[in-house]
C-alpha cells in the first residue's frame, strides 16, 4: 500500500484541476500509488492574499470533486492572514472535505501566529504539514527551517506535525527534529541522495518517516527510490510508504466518514 503525502495540481499540462488530476493519477497508477495528498493550486504564490488562498483551495476542492476515491485535500493557509485562515480552515476542513493543513513560505513556523492554526487543526485531528528547507543558498524571508518546526512543536506537545522535505538538506533537518517524538519527517522534494531514509530511520525510528514525492515538480520515481532503495527492513518500508500516514489520518477520516 503506497500513500503519497505530497502532491500539487501545478506543473503538468491541463487547463483545469480535473485535467491536472488525471495527469497526476496516470503517473501514480504506473508506480502503484493508491492515494495522494494534494494541496495548493496554481500558480505557486509565496505570500498569497486571502482571495488567492481561497481561489487555490477552490481548485483543490474541484480536484477532489471527481477524485475523492484517490486523493485527500489539505487546505492551504497563511499565518500572514490569521483570521481569514481560521475561517478558511472551517470552510474547507471543519465543514468541508479536506483532512489536513498546508503551510508554506509566508511566515516561519516558529512565529506565534501558527499557534491558533495548530490548535484548530488539532481539534479536528487534521494533518499539519509545514514546508521547510535549510538552503545553503539562503531561505526566503518567511521560509521555515526544520528548527522553526521544532520550536512550534515544542509548544504543542502531543500534536503531530510533519516537517516538509525534512529541510531538504536532511542531515541537519533530521537532527533538528530528533528530540521531538511528534514531529514526522517527509522525504519528498529533494534529490534522491543515498542514505536519507537510512539516517531518518536510524535517528527517528521508521514510524516517524513518511514517503511523499512533491509531484509533479519532482517525479514519483526519484522520490519512491529513496524508500525502495534504502537499506531498511520490509516492515519499516511499509510504514514509510503508507502505513504511518494512514495511522495519522485515521482519526479525521473516521470523523468524516471517509472510508479507505
Amino acid at each position: 500500500m503506497i500513500w503519497d503525502l505530497h502532491n500539487h495540481i501545478n506543473g503538468l499540462p491541463g487547463a483545469t484541476p480535473d485535467v491536472h488530476m488525471e495527469n497526476l493519477i496516470r503517473f501514480a497508477d504506473r508506480m502503484g500509488i493508491e492515494r495522494i495528498c494534494v494541496f495548493m493550486g496554481y500558480p505557486f504564490i509565496n505570500e498569497p492574499t486571502p482571495e488567492q488562498l481561497r481561489a487555490q483551495n477552490d481548485q483543490v476542492l474541484q480536484a477532489l470533486a471527481h477524485w475523492s476515491h484517490r486523493a485527500f485535500g489539505f487546505v492551504y493557509l497563511s499565518p500572514q492572514h490569521l483570521e481569514f485562515s481560521l475561517k478558511e480552515f472551517d470552510r474547507c476542513v471543519r465543514n468541508g472535505p479536506m483532512v489536513g493543513v498546508k503551510l508554506w513560505v509566508a511566515r516561519r513556523a516558529s512565529a506565534p501566529e501558527l499557534d491558533p492554526i495548530v490548535e484548530a487543526a488539532a481539534s479536528m485531528n487534521a494533518v499539519i504539514f509545514q514546508h521547510t528547507w535549510h538552503k545553503t543558498t539562503g531561505n526566503l524571508p518567511g521560509e521555515s527551517e526544520p528548527a522553526d518546526v521544532a520550536a512550534l512543536a515544542a509548544r504543542h506537545p502531543g500534536v503531530p506535525i510533519i516537517c516538509g522535505h525534512t529541510g531538504g538538506e536532511w542531515e541537519t533537518g533530521i537532527r533538528a527534529i530528533r528530540h521531538l517524538p511528534d514531529v514526522y519527517a517527509d522525504v519528498a522534494g529533494g534529490d534522491p541522495t543515498n542514505g536519507f531514509v537510512e539516517m531518518a530511520v536510524r535517528e527517528l525510528g521508521a514510524r516517524r518517516v513518511m514517503y511523499g514525492s512533491d509531484s509533479p515538480g519532482r517525479g514519483y520515481a526519484s522520490q519512491l527510490a529513496k524508500v525502495m532503495g534504502a537499506d531498511i527492513s520490509e516492515a519499516d518500508r511499509k510504514l514509510i510508504l503508507g502505513e504511518n500516514l494512514k495511522r495519522m489520518m485515521m482519526p479525521i477520516l473516521q470523523r468524516k466518514g471517509i472510508r479507505v
Binding site: 508506480m31 545553503t136 541522495t193 509533479p216 517525479g219 525502495m228
Partner: protein
C-alpha cells in the same frame, strides 16, 4: 544494463550505503547491471589527479575487472593535464574520462575545454561532462561550488568535431532547442538528475532516445531512481533497450 554514471571513492561530506568498490559492484550486479562506467570522487577534489586516476584504475580492476570501466578525471585548467590524459589512455587503458569543470574551476567558454575535447577525440576516448554533482542548495556552506553554464557547449563542440561527448547529471539546462541541437550534434545525456513526473518521456519529446543513456549517479544517489524513471514514463521495447545498454554499447564500439 550498462550504468554509465557511477563513482568510486570517498565523498568528503558523507558516507553512502554501499560506497566501497566491492559493495557497490555487488549492489549493481544484484540490480541487473552488467557493466558500469566509474569515475572517482577523488578526481573531483584532489589536485593530484594522476594518483587518483591510478587508484581508480586499480580499484576497478580489483573489485570489478570486466565490470567496472574506469573513467579518470582530467582537469584542463591544471598544469600537466595532457600527461594525465595520456596515462588514462596508454597506462590505464581507460575508454573515457570524466570532467568536472565547476569543481575544477574553469568555464566551457575558455580555450582549455575544446583543447581537451580535441585531445580526447584524437585518442578516441569518450568524454563525460558532469554538469552537477549535488543540488547547490545542499552544498557545504563553506564549500559552495558555482553552477556550470552549459551555454558555450555548442561552440566548444564545433571546435572538436567527432568527439564522443556524454553529458552527465543534467538537471534543467540545457533545455529546448539548445538541447535538441546538442543531441543532433551527437551528444548523449544520462538520466540521473532529470526530475519531474514523467521526465524521461518529456525529454524524449525533445531528443531521440538514441541519445539517452542509463546513468544512476550511484552511490551518491539511490540507484533505483533511474530504473523507476523509465517505469514512470512507460519506456519499453526498443527505446528501453537502447537506453539501458544499446546506446552505450554503440558509443563504446564506435570509432
Amino acid at each position: 544494463m550498462i550504468d554509465v554514471n557511477v563513482s568510486l571513492g570517498p565523498w568528503p561530506f558523507r558516507r553512502f550505503p554501499g560506497d566501497t568498490p566491492s559493495d557497490l559492484v555487488a549492489r549493481l550486479k544484484r540490480r541487473g547491471v552488467t557493466e558500469a562506467w566509474a569515475g572517482g570522487f577523488e578526481g573531483v577534489f584532489h589536485r593530484d589527479t594522476s594518483a587518483a586516476n591510478a587508484r581508480l584504475a586499480r580499484a576497478c580492476e580489483t573489485a570489478g575487472a570486466g565490470f567496472l570501466l574506469p573513467f579518470g578525471s582530467v582537469n584542463p585548467a591544471a598544469p600537466g593535464w595532457r600527461e594525465d590524459l595520456r596515462r588514462c589512455h596508454e597506462v590505464h587503458h581507460m575508454r573515457g574520462i570524466r570532467l568536472h569543470p565547476n569543481y575544477h574551476g574553469y568555464k566551457l567558454s575558455g580555450a582549455a575545454f575544446p583543447d581537451l575535447l580535441r585531445a580526447a577525440r584524437d585518442r578516441k576516448l569518450i568524454v563525460q561532462l558532469a554538469l552537477n554533482m549535488e543540488d547547490e542548495r545542499s552544498h557545504h556552506p563553506l564549500m559552495r561550488i558555482p553552477p556550470l553554464d552549459p551555454e558555450p557547449l555548442p561552440k566548444a563542440l564545433a571546435e572538436a568535431p567527432g568527439v564522443k561527448l556524454v553529458v552527465l547529471n543534467r538537471m534543467r539546462a540545457p533545455a529546448g532547442e539548445a538541447l535538441a541541437a546538442l543531441a543532433r550534434a551527437g551528444v548523449h545525456f544520462d538520466l540521473a538528475m532529470i526530475e519531474g513526473a514523467g521526465c524521461v518521456g518529456d525529454l524524449m519529446s525533445v531528443i531521440t532516445p538514441r541519445r539517452l543513456l542509463f546513468g544512476s549517479h550511484s552511490p551518491f544517489q539511490y540507484f533505483e531512481a533511474a530504473v523507476l524513471k523509465l517505469k514512470e514514463s512507460a519506456i519499453t521495447g526498443e527505446d528501453e533497450a537502447a537506453i539501458l545498454s544499446g546506446n552505450a554499447r554503440r558509443l563504446l564500439q564506435s570509432e
